[in-house]
Symmetry: C2
Protein backbone atom coordinates (compact mmCIF):
# COMPACT_ATOMS: atom_id res chain seq x y z
CA UNK A 1 0.00 0.00 0.00
CA UNK A 2 2.85 2.40 0.85
CA UNK A 3 5.78 2.83 -1.51
CA UNK A 4 9.50 2.79 -0.81
CA UNK A 5 11.93 4.01 -3.45
CA UNK A 6 15.70 4.33 -3.06
CA UNK A 7 17.99 6.07 -5.57
CA UNK A 8 21.77 5.95 -5.58
CA UNK A 9 24.07 8.48 -7.17
CA UNK A 10 26.27 9.39 -9.05
CA UNK A 11 24.41 9.24 -12.34
CA UNK A 12 26.61 8.89 -15.39
CA UNK A 13 25.19 11.98 -17.02
CA UNK A 14 23.38 15.16 -16.12
CA UNK A 15 19.74 14.97 -17.26
CA UNK A 16 18.54 16.81 -20.35
CA UNK A 17 15.92 19.23 -19.08
CA UNK A 18 14.26 19.48 -22.47
CA UNK A 19 14.00 15.76 -22.97
CA UNK A 20 12.95 15.10 -19.38
CA UNK A 21 10.40 17.77 -18.67
CA UNK A 22 9.95 20.20 -21.54
CA UNK A 23 8.34 17.98 -24.13
CA UNK A 24 11.46 16.93 -26.04
CA UNK A 25 14.99 17.85 -27.05
CA UNK A 26 15.89 18.87 -30.58
CA UNK A 27 19.67 19.13 -30.10
CA UNK A 28 21.52 17.01 -32.66
CA UNK A 29 24.32 16.11 -30.28
CA UNK A 30 22.77 16.81 -26.90
CA UNK A 31 25.41 16.08 -24.26
CA UNK A 32 22.84 15.39 -21.55
CA UNK A 33 21.05 12.16 -20.67
CA UNK A 34 17.99 11.20 -22.71
CA UNK A 35 17.27 8.27 -20.41
CA UNK A 36 15.54 7.52 -17.13
CA UNK A 37 18.44 8.51 -14.85
CA UNK A 38 18.08 8.55 -11.08
CA UNK A 39 17.93 12.31 -11.20
CA UNK A 40 15.10 12.11 -13.74
CA UNK A 41 13.14 9.99 -11.25
CA UNK A 42 13.87 12.45 -8.42
CA UNK A 43 12.80 15.36 -10.63
CA UNK A 44 9.57 13.58 -11.54
CA UNK A 45 8.67 13.37 -7.86
CA UNK A 46 9.36 17.09 -7.38
CA UNK A 47 7.26 17.95 -10.44
CA UNK A 48 4.43 15.81 -9.03
CA UNK A 49 3.72 18.42 -6.32
CA UNK A 50 0.14 19.70 -6.55
CA UNK A 51 -0.35 21.76 -3.37
CA UNK A 52 2.90 22.19 -1.49
CA UNK A 53 6.62 21.64 -1.69
CA UNK A 54 8.58 22.01 1.55
CA UNK A 55 12.33 21.91 0.95
CA UNK A 56 14.78 21.74 3.88
CA UNK A 57 18.32 21.38 2.53
CA UNK A 58 21.77 22.59 3.50
CA UNK A 59 22.27 24.45 0.22
CA UNK A 60 20.89 24.82 -3.30
CA UNK A 61 23.53 25.35 -5.96
CA UNK A 62 22.25 23.06 -8.70
CA UNK A 63 20.67 25.16 -11.45
CA UNK A 64 18.55 22.20 -12.55
CA UNK A 65 17.06 21.83 -9.09
CA UNK A 66 16.55 25.59 -8.91
CA UNK A 67 14.72 25.51 -12.24
CA UNK A 68 12.48 22.67 -11.11
CA UNK A 69 11.53 24.63 -7.98
CA UNK A 70 10.73 27.71 -10.05
CA UNK A 71 8.61 25.62 -12.46
CA UNK A 72 6.68 24.06 -9.59
CA UNK A 73 6.21 27.47 -7.94
CA UNK A 74 4.84 28.85 -11.21
CA UNK A 75 2.06 26.26 -11.31
CA UNK A 76 0.70 27.71 -8.06
CA UNK A 77 2.16 25.18 -5.66
CA UNK A 78 3.07 26.71 -2.27
CA UNK A 79 6.86 26.39 -2.06
CA UNK A 80 8.68 26.92 1.24
CA UNK A 81 12.46 26.59 1.51
CA UNK A 82 14.79 26.32 4.49
CA UNK A 83 18.57 26.45 3.89
CA UNK A 84 21.68 27.13 5.93
CA UNK A 85 22.34 30.87 6.31
CA UNK A 86 25.82 30.44 4.89
CA UNK A 87 24.59 28.86 1.68
CA UNK A 88 23.95 32.30 0.22
CA UNK A 89 27.70 32.69 -0.09
CA UNK A 90 28.51 29.34 -1.67
CA UNK A 91 29.78 29.19 -5.23
CA UNK A 92 26.87 28.98 -7.60
CA UNK A 93 24.29 29.57 -4.89
CA UNK A 94 20.75 29.77 -6.25
CA UNK A 95 19.33 31.26 -3.06
CA UNK A 96 19.18 34.84 -4.27
CA UNK A 97 17.55 33.76 -7.54
CA UNK A 98 14.87 31.84 -5.64
CA UNK A 99 14.18 34.85 -3.41
CA UNK A 100 13.96 37.17 -6.41
CA UNK A 101 11.34 34.91 -7.91
CA UNK A 102 9.12 35.36 -4.89
CA UNK A 103 9.72 32.07 -3.15
CA UNK A 104 9.41 32.03 0.63
CA UNK A 105 12.83 31.19 2.04
CA UNK A 106 14.13 31.04 5.60
CA UNK A 107 17.57 30.28 7.03
CA UNK A 108 19.04 29.25 10.35
CA UNK A 109 20.87 31.93 12.28
CA UNK A 110 23.76 30.03 13.75
CA UNK A 111 27.33 29.19 12.93
CA UNK A 112 26.31 25.52 13.07
CA UNK A 113 24.98 23.69 10.07
CA UNK A 114 21.39 23.40 9.00
CA UNK A 115 22.44 20.08 7.59
CA UNK A 116 19.13 18.44 6.69
CA UNK A 117 18.45 17.22 3.16
CA UNK A 118 14.75 16.47 3.08
CA UNK A 119 11.68 17.48 1.12
CA UNK A 120 7.99 16.97 1.76
CA UNK A 121 5.63 16.91 -1.21
CA UNK A 122 1.94 17.67 -0.67
CA UNK A 123 2.36 16.80 3.04
CA UNK A 124 2.37 13.15 1.98
CA UNK A 125 5.67 12.14 0.40
CA UNK A 126 9.08 12.34 2.06
CA UNK A 127 12.35 12.63 0.16
CA UNK A 128 15.40 12.19 2.41
CA UNK A 129 19.03 11.13 2.25
CA UNK A 130 22.59 12.34 1.91
CA UNK A 131 21.98 14.36 -1.24
CA UNK A 132 22.75 18.08 -1.09
CA UNK A 133 21.22 20.13 -3.87
CA UNK A 134 24.52 20.75 -5.57
CA UNK A 135 25.73 19.90 -9.04
CA UNK A 136 28.34 17.45 -7.77
CA UNK A 137 25.71 15.47 -5.88
CA UNK A 138 24.18 14.42 -9.18
CA UNK A 139 27.06 13.12 -11.30
CA UNK A 140 30.08 12.93 -8.99
CA UNK A 141 29.45 12.03 -5.35
CA UNK A 142 28.23 8.77 -3.85
CA UNK A 143 24.83 9.79 -2.55
CA UNK A 144 21.50 8.23 -1.62
CA UNK A 145 17.91 9.43 -1.77
CA UNK A 146 15.04 7.65 -0.06
CA UNK A 147 11.45 8.39 -1.12
CA UNK A 148 8.36 7.13 0.67
CA UNK A 149 4.80 7.92 1.66
CA UNK A 150 5.00 5.77 4.82
CA UNK A 151 3.17 8.00 7.33
CA UNK A 152 5.34 6.91 10.26
CA UNK A 153 8.28 8.45 8.43
CA UNK A 154 6.57 11.41 6.75
CA UNK A 155 4.93 12.69 9.94
CA UNK A 156 8.04 13.41 12.05
CA UNK A 157 9.73 15.22 9.14
CA UNK A 158 6.60 17.35 8.65
CA UNK A 159 6.80 18.22 12.34
CA UNK A 160 10.49 19.11 12.04
CA UNK A 161 9.85 21.32 9.01
CA UNK A 162 7.07 23.23 10.73
CA UNK A 163 9.16 23.62 13.88
CA UNK A 164 12.18 25.00 11.98
CA UNK A 165 9.96 27.21 9.79
CA UNK A 166 8.67 28.89 12.95
CA UNK A 167 12.09 29.02 14.63
CA UNK A 168 13.66 30.70 11.61
CA UNK A 169 10.87 33.25 11.10
CA UNK A 170 12.11 36.82 10.56
CA UNK A 171 11.90 38.84 13.81
CA UNK B 1 5.20 -5.26 12.33
CA UNK B 2 8.07 -3.12 11.00
CA UNK B 3 9.36 -0.19 13.02
CA UNK B 4 10.09 3.38 11.95
CA UNK B 5 12.06 5.67 14.24
CA UNK B 6 13.17 9.21 13.44
CA UNK B 7 15.59 11.23 15.57
CA UNK B 8 16.31 14.93 15.21
CA UNK B 9 19.44 16.71 16.36
CA UNK B 10 20.97 18.76 17.94
CA UNK B 11 20.76 17.26 21.40
CA UNK B 12 21.21 19.74 24.23
CA UNK B 13 24.06 17.77 25.75
CA UNK B 14 26.64 15.21 24.79
CA UNK B 15 25.76 11.82 26.29
CA UNK B 16 27.59 10.47 29.31
CA UNK B 17 29.24 7.25 28.12
CA UNK B 18 29.47 5.86 31.63
CA UNK B 19 25.84 6.51 32.44
CA UNK B 20 24.60 5.36 29.05
CA UNK B 21 26.56 2.21 28.38
CA UNK B 22 29.11 1.44 31.08
CA UNK B 23 26.86 0.59 33.99
CA UNK B 24 26.70 4.01 35.62
CA UNK B 25 28.48 7.29 36.22
CA UNK B 26 30.03 8.22 39.56
CA UNK B 27 31.07 11.79 38.69
CA UNK B 28 29.67 14.27 41.18
CA UNK B 29 29.19 17.01 38.62
CA UNK B 30 29.19 15.08 35.38
CA UNK B 31 28.81 17.61 32.55
CA UNK B 32 27.30 15.06 30.19
CA UNK B 33 23.68 14.00 29.76
CA UNK B 34 22.27 11.40 32.14
CA UNK B 35 19.04 11.19 30.18
CA UNK B 36 17.60 9.44 27.14
CA UNK B 37 18.98 11.84 24.53
CA UNK B 38 18.57 11.18 20.82
CA UNK B 39 22.19 10.19 20.68
CA UNK B 40 21.62 7.69 23.48
CA UNK B 41 18.89 6.08 21.37
CA UNK B 42 21.16 6.00 18.30
CA UNK B 43 23.96 4.47 20.37
CA UNK B 44 21.61 1.80 21.74
CA UNK B 45 20.85 0.70 18.18
CA UNK B 46 24.56 0.48 17.34
CA UNK B 47 25.22 -1.52 20.51
CA UNK B 48 22.40 -3.89 19.57
CA UNK B 49 24.51 -5.39 16.74
CA UNK B 50 24.97 -9.12 17.23
CA UNK B 51 26.55 -10.32 13.97
CA UNK B 52 27.51 -7.42 11.74
CA UNK B 53 27.81 -3.66 11.62
CA UNK B 54 28.28 -2.09 8.18
CA UNK B 55 29.07 1.62 8.40
CA UNK B 56 29.16 3.79 5.28
CA UNK B 57 29.73 7.42 6.30
CA UNK B 58 31.57 10.41 4.91
CA UNK B 59 33.81 10.75 7.95
CA UNK B 60 34.20 9.60 11.56
CA UNK B 61 35.55 12.24 13.89
CA UNK B 62 33.33 11.73 16.93
CA UNK B 63 35.28 9.93 19.63
CA UNK B 64 32.06 8.65 21.18
CA UNK B 65 31.02 7.00 17.92
CA UNK B 66 34.53 5.63 17.49
CA UNK B 67 34.38 4.13 20.98
CA UNK B 68 31.02 2.53 20.30
CA UNK B 69 32.41 0.91 17.14
CA UNK B 70 35.42 -0.41 19.03
CA UNK B 71 33.18 -1.79 21.79
CA UNK B 72 30.95 -3.53 19.26
CA UNK B 73 33.99 -4.89 17.40
CA UNK B 74 35.36 -6.30 20.66
CA UNK B 75 32.24 -8.38 21.25
CA UNK B 76 33.02 -10.30 18.06
CA UNK B 77 30.64 -8.48 15.72
CA UNK B 78 32.00 -8.21 12.15
CA UNK B 79 32.51 -4.49 11.58
CA UNK B 80 33.11 -3.09 8.08
CA UNK B 81 33.58 0.62 7.47
CA UNK B 82 33.54 2.71 4.30
CA UNK B 83 34.56 6.39 4.52
CA UNK B 84 35.70 9.09 2.14
CA UNK B 85 39.45 8.86 1.41
CA UNK B 86 39.94 12.45 2.50
CA UNK B 87 38.43 11.86 5.93
CA UNK B 88 41.78 10.59 7.20
CA UNK B 89 43.02 14.16 7.08
CA UNK B 90 40.10 15.84 8.83
CA UNK B 91 40.58 17.38 12.27
CA UNK B 92 39.98 14.77 14.92
CA UNK B 93 39.70 11.94 12.43
CA UNK B 94 39.25 8.55 14.11
CA UNK B 95 40.08 6.58 10.97
CA UNK B 96 43.64 5.71 11.92
CA UNK B 97 42.54 4.63 15.39
CA UNK B 98 39.90 2.33 13.93
CA UNK B 99 42.46 0.79 11.55
CA UNK B 100 44.96 0.28 14.36
CA UNK B 101 42.33 -1.62 16.28
CA UNK B 102 41.98 -4.13 13.48
CA UNK B 103 38.76 -2.92 11.94
CA UNK B 104 38.28 -3.49 8.22
CA UNK B 105 38.07 -0.11 6.55
CA UNK B 106 37.87 0.90 2.91
CA UNK B 107 37.75 4.30 1.21
CA UNK B 108 36.75 5.70 -2.14
CA UNK B 109 39.57 6.71 -4.45
CA UNK B 110 38.21 9.82 -6.06
CA UNK B 111 38.26 13.55 -5.53
CA UNK B 112 34.47 13.40 -5.28
CA UNK B 113 32.69 12.77 -2.02
CA UNK B 114 31.72 9.41 -0.58
CA UNK B 115 28.88 11.32 0.98
CA UNK B 116 26.64 8.55 2.31
CA UNK B 117 25.67 8.45 5.97
CA UNK B 118 24.12 5.03 6.48
CA UNK B 119 24.62 1.98 8.66
CA UNK B 120 23.24 -1.54 8.43
CA UNK B 121 22.96 -3.58 11.61
CA UNK B 122 22.81 -7.38 11.38
CA UNK B 123 21.70 -7.05 7.74
CA UNK B 124 18.28 -6.13 9.08
CA UNK B 125 18.18 -2.57 10.39
CA UNK B 126 18.96 0.56 8.39
CA UNK B 127 20.17 3.83 9.93
CA UNK B 128 20.17 6.70 7.41
CA UNK B 129 19.97 10.46 7.33
CA UNK B 130 21.97 13.67 7.20
CA UNK B 131 24.10 12.87 10.23
CA UNK B 132 27.86 12.75 9.70
CA UNK B 133 29.79 11.02 12.46
CA UNK B 134 31.27 14.22 13.79
CA UNK B 135 31.07 15.85 17.17
CA UNK B 136 29.15 18.85 15.85
CA UNK B 137 26.45 16.61 14.38
CA UNK B 138 25.42 15.62 17.89
CA UNK B 139 25.01 18.88 19.79
CA UNK B 140 25.26 21.67 17.22
CA UNK B 141 23.88 20.99 13.75
CA UNK B 142 20.31 20.43 12.64
CA UNK B 143 20.41 16.78 11.61
CA UNK B 144 18.08 13.84 11.14
CA UNK B 145 18.46 10.09 11.54
CA UNK B 146 15.93 7.58 10.27
CA UNK B 147 15.97 4.02 11.62
CA UNK B 148 13.88 1.16 10.25
CA UNK B 149 13.77 -2.56 9.57
CA UNK B 150 11.41 -2.11 6.59
CA UNK B 151 12.91 -4.61 4.10
CA UNK B 152 12.05 -2.49 1.06
CA UNK B 153 14.37 0.16 2.46
CA UNK B 154 17.03 -2.04 4.07
CA UNK B 155 17.60 -4.16 0.97
CA UNK B 156 18.77 -1.48 -1.49
CA UNK B 157 21.19 -0.03 1.07
CA UNK B 158 22.61 -3.52 1.71
CA UNK B 159 23.15 -3.80 -2.03
CA UNK B 160 24.84 -0.42 -2.19
CA UNK B 161 27.14 -1.28 0.72
CA UNK B 162 28.21 -4.56 -0.87
CA UNK B 163 28.75 -2.87 -4.23
CA UNK B 164 30.94 -0.11 -2.75
CA UNK B 165 32.80 -2.59 -0.54
CA UNK B 166 33.85 -4.49 -3.68
CA UNK B 167 34.55 -1.34 -5.69
CA UNK B 168 36.81 0.05 -2.98
CA UNK B 169 38.74 -3.20 -2.40
CA UNK B 170 42.52 -2.80 -2.26
CA UNK B 171 44.09 -3.73 -5.61
ZN1 LIG C 1 18.79 16.82 -24.80
ZN1 LIG D 1 28.10 11.05 33.70
Amino acid sequence: EYFYKVLFFPDEKYPCLFYSWKGGCDAANCPYAHTETNFKILGDYLYSAKQSLDVCVYTISSSVLCNIILDVHETGVLVRIIVDDESDNFTGSMIQKLRENGIQLRTDKSSFLMHHKFVIIDQEVLINGSFNWTRSAITANNENVLITNQPNLVKPYKGEFDKLWKTFAPK
